[in-house]
Every structure is written in C-alpha cells, then in structure tokens.
C-alpha cells in the first residue's frame, strides 16, 4: 500500500474504533488504547479522525497522546521488554541488571533494535516488589531476575 492508501486505511479503522467507544463517559483514553492495540502505535493519521469524532482540536488530541508514557508515536519492536527501575527492584540490583541487559542488546532506554526485534523501556514498578527485580516481556511478568535470566532474555528476543 502506498502512503495515501495506508493513511486512508488507518483513518477508516480509527473511525470504527471511535464510533464504537464514543458513547463512553470520557472516551479518549479507551480509544487511544484500542488504537494502539490495533496498530501497535498511535499513528499521526488517526489524530484528525479522533479529533473530529470527539469534537476536539487535533492539538488537544496530540497533547493527550504525548502526555502519557504508554502511547507510542512509532511502532515498537516485535518484542517489548519493560524492565522495572523503581526502588524495590533497585534494592535487589536492578540497576546493574539494566546496565547488563542494555549492553547485551546494544540499546539505550526507549530504543528499538535496528532489526526491529526488540524495544526496551523502563517501567516504574510492576507490583512485583516482593519478587524483585521484575520485568514484563510482551505482557508476561517475570520476577526474581538475575544475570542468567537477563542473558537468556537477551538471546530469546533476538532469536
């Protein structure tokens, strides 16, 4: 699909989501979540459609998208690793593990590998603080991470 068709496709799928969720009280976050679930990110081409559907300005919608850490403006890698950087995990060596994992992947926080295999993001607590250090990989939770587990993880997401 060329980019114009792609945009038209995004617009029509966005319209369907907006149409479905618009009756909710405070529909914007549920709409953005569904859009991100549908496309893997919140495409620019979605914004005018949302704005029109909810009677907002495009700038307002953009302001909301940019405020929240969760919404991506570009697609993520095939795997997404969220490594906890908060205090309980720090107390169990999360900083050292993070350095190690970033080194193994050759990435810095928020980066996606050039082959599109993996994105690494910081997260501040997963509610697994009694089994720290913790991470979430493609939505699955992992606790009691150690150097070996991090090594395995780096291999697995690259496979």
């Amino acid at each position: 699909m060329d980019s114009r068709h792609l945009d038209a496709d995004i617009a029509s799928r966005t319209e369907a989501i907006v149409g479905r969720l618009k009756p909710l009280e405070g529909p914007l976050l549920p709409i953005l979540h569904d859009i991100q679930a549908e496309f893997g990110y919140v495409p620019q081409a979605s914004l005018p459609v949302i704005a029109q559907g909810l009677n907002l300005s495009r700038a307002e919608v953009h302001g909301v998208v940019s405020f929240y850490h969760d919404y991506r403006e570009t697609p993520a890698g095939r795997h997404v690793i969220k490594l906890c950087r908060a205090e309980a995990c720090q107390s169990m060596g999360a900083n050292e593990l993070a350095d190690r994992l970033l080194g193994l992947l050759g990435l810095d926080w928020h980066e996606t590998s050039s082959d599109g295999a993996v994105t690494i993001e910081p997260v501040y607590c997963l509610g697994l603080c009694a089994c720290a250090p913790a991470a979430m990989v493609d939505g699955e939770v992992i606790g009691r991470l150690d150097a070996d587990a991090v090594q395995d993880l780096a291999m697995a997401v690259r496979a």
Binding site: G63, F67, Y68, S91, M92, L128, C129, A130
Partner: protein
C-alpha cells in the same frame, strides 16, 4: 470427591512460574488418572514461597512451596493429595507463622477462594455487608463507616466517612464512585492482589459506597502495568452483573449501581485524585487546584467519591461486622488493620495485614526476617517514592499515621522497601529527584524544574564539587519544592531526599581522591 489443588494465578506467582507448575500438574493428573480439580486462587501473599500450592485435605489445607514444575511428579508420588510429607511441605497453611500472626479483615479471602467464584465468595462471608447495607439508610451506612475510624489507604489518611458524608450531602444530577487503583508506589501491590485474588470484595465495597452517597455509577481506574488485574476485574464485573449484584436492581432492591474498569496509560501522577479525574475524562493528567473538592465537583464536574482500592475493599467487613468491631483494632487515631507490603531486599517478602501499631523493626526484622542477601539492613523506604528513608535508629516507630508524620515520614499506601548496607543513599536521593522530573505533570515550576536541578546538584556532590555548598542548595531546593508545589509529587519528593541526606550523611561525603581513582 474430587481433590482440590490450589495454584495461585496472582501476578506475583505467575512471575515466578505458577503457570508452568499448573500446566505440569494438569498433565501429571491426567497421566495418573487422578480425580483432581485445579483452582487458580489469588496469592496468600507469602511471595518468597511462591509458587505456593495447596491441597485441601480432611484436616484442612496443606501448603507446599516454592514449587518448580520439576517438583510436581515427586510431590504427587509423596502423597500430595493427602497432604503427604515432602521437603517442600510447609504444613497446614493456617499454621505458617507469617500468616498466623496476621489479622486479616480486608484480605480475609484473598488466596483462599477461587477469585471468580461467587459461591466461594458467599461461603466465605462475602456479600454479608452489602445485604446489610441494602436495608439501611444512606445516613446509617455513612455513620457506620465514620464510626469504624477508617482512613483513606491511598496515602493522605483522610477519614472515609467524612468524605462520604460530603458527597451524600452534595447535590448533583449524577454522582460517581471512583476507585483509585493506580497503585504507582514502588513497594506496593495490595490493590493488585485484591483485584486478582478477591475482586468481588471491591465490587461489594463500591456498591455499598454507591448506596451510601447516592451514586449509581463507578469506575476502577487502574494502571496499564497491571494487565492481569484488569482481566480479572473485568470478568468479575461481568459475573456480578449477571447475578444482580450490579445492575438496575442491586440484590433485588430499588437501588441501581454499575461499574467499569478504566486503564491508565503510564503516568504516576494520575494516582493523584484530580489528575486521575482529568485522565478519566480523557485529558492530560494535570493536577487540578482544590477547591473545588472532587466530593463537590469531581468526574465530569459532578459529586464524586475518590477512594483508594483498599479503603473501598475494607467497607464490606465494616458493614458486616459493624464499625465498632473494626475500630477496636489499631492504635491512636489509626484504627483497624493495614495491609503492609514488605518488599525489596528482604528475606520473607509479602503482604502482612495487621492492626496498626506494630513497629517498623518488628515488620522488617521479625516478620520480614532481615535482608534477602543476609547483609545488615541499612535503610527502609516507607510509603513509596515520596516516602522517607528510615535508618535503624527509627525502627521503634509504630505503624500509625501520626507517629510516622512525627518522624518526618509517611505511611502512604503502606509499602516498605528494604535496602542492605550496599545501598548508596546518594544514589537513592538522586533517583527521587529523577523520578519526580520524569513524572511531574508540569504545572508547577518548583516540581518541574527543581527536580531536574536537584539531579544536577546531587551529581556535583558525587563529583566532589563544593559538596557543602551543594548540600545547602539541596536543602533550599527541597524547601522551595515543599512549599511551592501544588501536589505531593513535588511537595513530598523532599522527604526521600532530605531523609537520605540527614540520616546517612556519610554517603554524601566526597570520595577521597585515592579511592575515587580506583
């Protein structure tokens, strides 16, 4: 009769392999042609023993843990189904000291029942509070909650009954109950455990809140970091709707109440109640100035109760057993029980619900068993990223809102994070500023800019650049943030920073050149 085996489905158990254990168990049961039902319960909150499985025997439930998939066959051969002996056997679950020493009111069922079985819920005392409430006047419900002495478990400790009374008396075409399940504090997971392990208790609490103030609609605002909790909560709501606990006629009465789950999008500040309401309405999570209070002008400008999940989940037991029953636990002005979460570098990490009044030292050393690494405890942070770091010298502080305030700390959502002697308190102070900078909603300059300045100043101390001058700067900066911030994100970041600086000055001394060069 089919034997029941419990394998937790709580995220904390899943994170250490509970699904794999359940899968192996199902295979082994099929291979041996045994008559066994596997129940995915919530967690009992003994996380160092997870995955902890239990079997129901004639003499009660017997626990085993931590179980790996490779242990399953050996367990079955050792007579697991009759509570047989095995190196992983922990004996009768109820006798495990960590559980036995607790007073479980809010968490009475968590880890015991099948979270999505209403029958289980009823058989373990569920709905008794709502049944009472349906027959009471709104004023009488509010009175019961006021009498219980329940204070908000989200952090500020505001009396729940008074908040409800304000909303009851407020006029509006529509009122709302909003459950704050944003649980962003490091070292906390009690909200998550309830959503995953006993979701009906939250539903019951919210319906009671609705009856009390005249609200017919509720929202549970929770974090996107909790996908499993969101799934469980959503399913529980559907079940409650099918069974007339929610809907146009609550338990066959003339009252209506319905609710839904809303997911945040990764912003710590959205745990602040007004930022939460902004987010729920579909805007940036920017803190609103108060007044107006959410109780007067909350969600969509209408009267709204915003309560922490634990506050709401504690209401059913109060309406069941009475305000006086609940009030008789605790100390001073901190009444009832508090689910303390013991976390971080700790040997026995988990959820410990007890009456207010236990000392920090008892919780960390005695219940928590000291550090996981076996090294001395250096500091504990209580109350999340905005809470103070306590040194050992303050371990006699009892868990009580006023006692913590008196020591320059806060109970918050009752999370304790333990650090051993390898912790560098300068790094912890730096992180507090960094976190504030990342999560600031941007409305106040001291919070938005001050936090970034704070990181730079701490870095200069670390580098040994005029450290005494920098320390004064940190104190000044903290003072500005404390008094120039609209909410506790900017206003309380000084707690972790200044407590680290005050109690652990040795970590803020410049490193001697010879050592620095190493």
């Amino acid at each position: 009769m089919s034997v029941k085996i419990y394998i937790p489905g709580d995220s904390g158990a899943l994170a250490v392999g509970a699904d794999k254990v359940a899968m192996r168990m199902a295979q082994a049961i099929a291979a041996r042609d045994l008559d066994v039902t596997i129940i995915r319960n919530g967690s009992r909150g003994l996380f160092w023993l997870e995955p902890m499985i239990e079997v129901e025997t004639e003499a009660g439930r017997v626990a085993y843990g931590p179980v790996k998939p490779a242990d399953v066959d050996g367990l079955l051969s050792a007579g697991l189904l009759d509570g047989g002996d095995h190196p992983l056997c922990l004996g009768p679950t109820a006798d495990i000291p960590f559980l036995k020493r607790q007073t479980r009111l809010t968490f009475a069922r968590c880890g015991i029942t099948d979270p999505l079985s209403l029958e289980d819920y009823r058989n373990h005392g569920g709905l008794a509070g709502l049944i009472n409430a349906v027959a009471m006047t709104p004023q009488a419900i509010v009175q019961e909650v006021t009498e219980s002495g329940l204070r908000g478990r989200g952090g500020a400790g505001f009396p729940t009954g008074i908040k409800w009374k304000t909303v009851l008396e407020a006029e509006g075409p529509q009122k709302y109950i909003v459950c704050n399940a944003d649980e962003g504090d490091s070292g906390t997971f009690s909200d998550r455990m309830i959503m995953e392990g006993d979701p009906f208790v939250l539903i019951e609490g919210m319906v009671i809140a609705g009856l009390a103030v005249g609200a017919t609609k509720g929202y549970v605002y929770t974090r996107s970091e909790y996908p499993h909790a969101i799934r469980m909560m959503t399913r529980a709501i559907e079940i409650a709707r099918k069974n007339n606990i929610l809907g146009p006629s609550v338990l066959g009465s003339l009252h209506a109440f319905d609710m839904e789950v809303r997911e945040g999008a990764g912003a710590y500040v959205c745990g602040e109640e007004t930022a939460l309401l902004e987010s729920l309405e579909g805007r940036r999570g920017v803190v609103r100035a108060k007044p107006p209070l959410p109780a007067h002008k909350g969600f969509l400008g209408r009267p709204t109760v915003v309560n922490n999940l634990i506050s709401l989940a504690t209401v059913p037991v109060i309406l069941d057993k009475g305000g006086a029953y609940y009030r008789d636990f605790g100390m001073g002005r901190s009444r009832g029980t508090i689910p303390v979460q013991i976390t971080g570098n700790v040997r026995y990490g988990g959820l410990f619900e007890a009456a207010f009044g236990m000392t920090l030292g008892e919780l960390v050393d005695d219940i928590g068993g000291g550090t996981a690494t076996g090294r001395p405890v250096k500091a504990v942070q209580v109350g999340g990223p905005l809470g103070a770091y306590f040194p050992r010298e303050l371990f006699d502080t009892p868990f009580d809102y006023e006692a913590f305030t008196a020591k320059g700390g806060l109970v918050g959502h009752a999370g304790i994070v333990v650090f051993d002697d390898t912790a560098d308190m300068l790094k912890q102070a730096r992180f507090a500023f960094e976190f504030c900078a990342i999560e600031s909603c941007g409305k106040c300059t001291p919070c938005r800019i001050g936090s970034t300045r704070g990181v730079e100043v701490i870095d200069r101390i670390a580098a040994g650049i005029e450290p005494e001058k920098q320390k004064d700067l940190v104190a000044d900066l903290c003072n500005t943030m404390k008094f120039g911030s609209l909410c506790a994100l900017g206003g309380f970041t000084p707690y972790p920073v200044m407590s680290a600086l005050t109690h652990f000055p040795e970590d803020f001394r410049p490193v001697p050149m010879s050592q620095a060069a190493e």
